[in-house]
Amino acid sequence: MQGKHEPTPPPKPRKQTQGVKKIDTIKEFGQTDVPTVKTNIHCLPIIGQIEGHLILPPQNKTTKYEHIIPQLVAIEQNPEIEGLLIILNTVGGDVEAGLAIAEIIVSMTKPTVSLVLGGGHSIGVPVAVSARYSLIAETATMTIHPIRLSGLVIGVPQTYEYMDKMQDRVIRFVEKHSRISDSKFRELMFQTGELARDIGTVLVGRDAVEVGLIDDVGGISKAIKKLQEFIKEEKNKKGDYLH
């Protein structure tokens, strides 16, 4: 992407506004282009609803699964990218899309660190724990609650069994990739008296670390430091042939 940022401007839309901007940068910085910083860490923001099988109505802010997966594939393949920071501020969304993203992140060889800012609710939980190291901001929250069914629900035992199965997929993933136990996660999920209109638990910052869901409380500095540590380890493992 940066490769295109050379003295010769891309031949495309030369509009007057861009001409003016060029002159501005010459005047302000004495150069023809604003310096772009080469970065070996890419950042993947997961915001709003995670959108999967259905396109959600436009009032929803969404992160689309079909955008995220190819980006993760590209990051895994690009030798210039050495680490990935996943920033979460999501209200959950499609179970399958969320689990798909989480599975890809878990199976990446590049170091990954996730940072929950604001909120990482419901299906955001498996995505947060899928990174090699997970962080949560002190004020960020994570809501853990049971899965609900929408649309036509048939009142038969099979409906319950199906829902239980879907829930187990999430619980199993979270249990496998964090320090929390199956029983503790279920306990949080089915807690009563915590949420106003639902059963479940809200974990604020440190609570998520204490139950073993997230590795540490922290912000961007801790996240980048951890990534750099991982990148160094990775390089040592490979015999330090880069740089």
């Binding site: 992407m1 839309p13 506004t17 772009t36 969304g93």
Partner: protein, 72 residues
Amino acid sequence: MILYTPLPLELVLMSDDNSSPYQEVEYNGVTLVVQPMGIGLGKIVQVKSTDPSVYLRPELQPGQQISLSPKH
């Protein structure tokens, strides 16, 4: 499809108008969400990239107008 979200489902799924005012375009190799402003013009609403340096490029700042000719 199962939606796993703490938001009330009626809030997520409710809609009077299903058409989004935004359009997604590829511009100089970067995926952008733009609001069409007229023939061949669009205002940048969102940048979709994992490369943090893309967000520093002045021509890709949200609010900037870009031309939407289909060459790219």
